[in-house]
């Protein structure tokens, strides 16, 4: 997760934002009758206290915030009020920032996320509280999720590698599939599933986040490929996309689920390719290195197993991958495969037994106790998610009924597909809180009218270990 440039600038910016808001409100009084000028009905600064900054991306920034309690006296001492709801406020940045922010039209990704999030609602989807349009910016107010999978995976590599408990992986996966099933049922493809986008609440509920790339796939009718050419962080990109598929299908999300499953098991991305950048002609390049990483473990896709393979636009490229593989073994990959990946080398045509080797190595390294291991069923699930042919790849619905999820523990649910919806259940591990950067000249004071820092929660909200 990236750090803010300087927190001071955030403070300044928010302050500016709020001042602009007031001026605009004042101006709007004169033009009240006119429908052409925009005044926001809700003011972010009046409703929420910004606690700190969480992360930033191309879209804008995410802040941690707490709702001000309108009923409580703002001067009352800290802690006297009931615990307040926490929020993650995603602020879509305007194209240009600075003193003279102008309306420039909202980005496609903001529009997508706004329209889908207002439409969708599911326990395994990040919950949207409201959207505020203010000062030429969009603020999407989400429930606050304390963790995400990237952070959880990272935690298990520090200071030494400790496997994520099998029950936890199972619960995470089941909840993820459940949310994905809902999305797919509603004709939405996420298109950017990766550990950083899978949130986990402090009570162990998994929430799929970041619908900025998601889109409806039943919406007719023109090729889903048009518009945005490149989708899905490269390590999680499915082979059909890598080979130039023109139509997105829910199967691309399922591939990503496979990658996430593998990463939860081994604590590192399974196909960690290097992205080939777009050339000056703006043609989408073939991601040779990424495809190579997949082939290294799964073997080459074969026409007899994937009907449409030969029709894929980049199929000839795949041929060249064969040549270079057999021509100079290892030549494609400057770095020798890691011990985790060694099983894949030479797995060229042996039907994914490379994956089995990878999987078994992975379990061995993790040394799960025999009764608490993802077992062979885990391998079955993984290999069905890593089906090359998108038409044969496991769907979210079928995955939810997979034997892997059948409960073998003694008890009332033995023999049923039954998975806890709290991925931390029965575990002692304490995961660090999300990093939030705050500053001494805190964002709230002064800049947000009518507020005091009184509502700011105590230190427990700050990360246990202070930032590096």
């Amino acid at each position: 997760m990236s750090r803010p440039g300087t927190s001071l600038s955030i403070a300044q910016q928010l302050r500016k934002t709020t001042q602009l808001g007031l001026e605009e409100a004042a101006r709007s009084l004169d033009k009240k009758h006119v429908g052409n000028n925009y005044t926001s009905k809700v003011k972010i600064g009046q409703k929420y206290n910004i606690i700190g900054f969480i992360s930033s991306g191309t879209y804008g920034r995410v802040y941690k915030a707490v709702e001000k309690n309108p009923r409580s006296d703002p001067s009352s001492p800290v802690g006297s009020a009931a615990p307040k709801e926490l929020y993650a406020i995603k602020k879509f940045k305007p194209e240009k920032e600075g003193d003279n922010v102008q309306y420039t039209g909202l980005s496609q990704s903001a529009i997508r996320e706004m329209s889908l999030c207002t439409e969708l609602s599911h326990p395994n989807l990040v919950h949207l509280a409201e959207i505020v349009l203010e000062d030429k910016c969009v603020f999407m107010v989400f429930e606050y999720c304390e963790h995400d999978l990237l952070q959880i995976i990272h935690h298990h590599t520090q200071p030494t590698r400790r496997p994520i408990p099998a029950t936890m992986i199972k619960s995470i996966l089941f909840q993820l599939l459940n949310g994905l099933y809902y999305l797919h049922q509603n004709w939405v493809i996420h298109r950017d599933l990766k550990p950083a986008n899978i949130m986990v609440t402090s009570s162990g509920h998994v929430r799929i986040g970041d619908l900025g790339l998601a889109r409806l796939f039943h919406k007719p009718l023109s090729s889903l490929y048009s518009g945005d050419k490149v989708v899905v962080t490269i390590w999680y990109r499915s082979p059909d996309l890598l080979l130039g598929a023109r139509h997105y299908t829910p199967a691309i999300d399922m591939w990503a689920v496979g990658c996430i499953f593998a990463e939860l098991l081994s604590l590192r991305p399974i196909f960690k390719g290097e992205e080939t950048k777009m050339d000056s002609k703006k043609t989408v390049p073939f991601q040779r290195n990424q495809m190579g990483k997949i082939v290294e473990i799964l073997g080459l896709p074969r026409r007899e197993n994937w009907k449409g393979l030969a029709d894929m636009p980049e199929y000839p490229q795949l041929q060249s991958l064969v040549v270079s593989r057999s021509g100079m073994p290892g030549g494609l990959y400057p770095n020798p495969p890691t011990s985790m990946n060694r099983g894949g080398s030479g797995g060229g045509a042996n039907n994914g037994s490379g994956l089995e080797t990878w999987y078994n190595n992975c379990l061995r390294h993790a040394s799960y106790p025999p009764d608490k291991s993802p077992g062979q069923r885990g391998f079955q699930l993984l290999s069905e998610l890593f089906e090359y042919d998108p038409d044969k790849r496991l769907t979210a619905e079928r995955a939810l009924h997979h034997e892997y999820f059948r409960n073998t523990d003694e008890g009332p649910h033995k023999g049923e597909i039954w998975v806890s919806n709290n991925c931390f259940e029965g575990l002692d591990e304490v995961y660090p809180h999300r990093r939030v950067s705050t500053e001494t000249n805190d964002i709230g004071t002064g800049s947000l009218p009518g507020t005091k820092r009184g509502g700011l929660p105590d230190d427990s909200l700050l990360p246990a270990a202070k930032r590096r």
């Binding site: 006119v34 420039t104 009718l221």
Partner: protein, 353 residues
Amino acid sequence: MAANYWTSTQRKYWTFTPEKLTEVRDELEGQNAKVIEQHPYPDPRLMFIFLRDRLLQLAKRLQFRQQCVATALVYLHRYFLSTPMQNVNLYLLTATAFYLASKTEESPHHIRLVAAEARQAWPEFVPGDVSRLGEMEFCLISEMRSQLIVWHPYRSLIALKENQELKLSNDELGLAWSIINDSYMTDLPLTSPPHLIAIIAMFLAVVFLPTAKAAGTLRPISHDTLANPDSGPFSSLVGRQALLGSFSTVMGNLQMPNHPASQINQATNGKTRAPIDEPNSQPVDKEKTVAAIKESEKLQNIIKFLVESGIELEQMIEGTQEMISLYDIWEQYSEKSVKDAISRCLKSRGLDS
């Protein structure tokens, strides 16, 4: 059919009973009585014909999809529930609705392009300034509470096409398609679920087809449109007057199980402003039409389908009436008078540019 129309914000928040709609509008008019009185606008349906044509004007040079125009029209309908037409620069609003719909329908245009196109089309009323369009986008999104996904009847019509019992011909589908396009000029998008509108359109298409054929106003639907319905022009029903003439005749001769034809007739005649069964300008052989329809197994099948499908017949009849009444008032449409009314209002209120 779309699995989740039933949980959509469209169904939850943007579908009203006619009574509720009247109530909302009465309240809005009450609050803005003075302005509305000072600047009377023609019938909203005529306004919408005008606005649709403005959207199509923009769409002429910017690549667009039919559904994008339809979505933009729904956005306008929603916007006018909270803002009287007289309070807003309709040209700027139309360009904004087009711009926003192009994004939600996943065929986005750059704001600069839309602004430039709008500026060129209506230089008196649209500032070249991109930020005005961007600001209007905020107004539009905010009034719609960020609920931007719209469900349309086209998909349902395609589903009806697949229905083996109905055996709809391409001619009928083409007519129905145009009727759906026209439904955006009425309140139907605010009162009826998309599948009901599709059924209304199908029903009217089957009723109209013999007359359309006889009058020679049938425009063949291109194979392309059915295969890729989103391309092609946003076409309207052609030869409306002649078709209207046939409608009441047909209705009078129709035996509708459980719902006597008289009821349909009543509904039909009760609400129209002008009697629609008057002989119209184009001579149509009514008896021939009636005979054709009586023989039509198809209509019988459709009526069977309507009864069996459990749709709200009452609502369907009202919707059918709304379409008929649109085609009736359409004859009064004058682009110039709408345009002048808008110009006067914008200028006197200082809403231009």
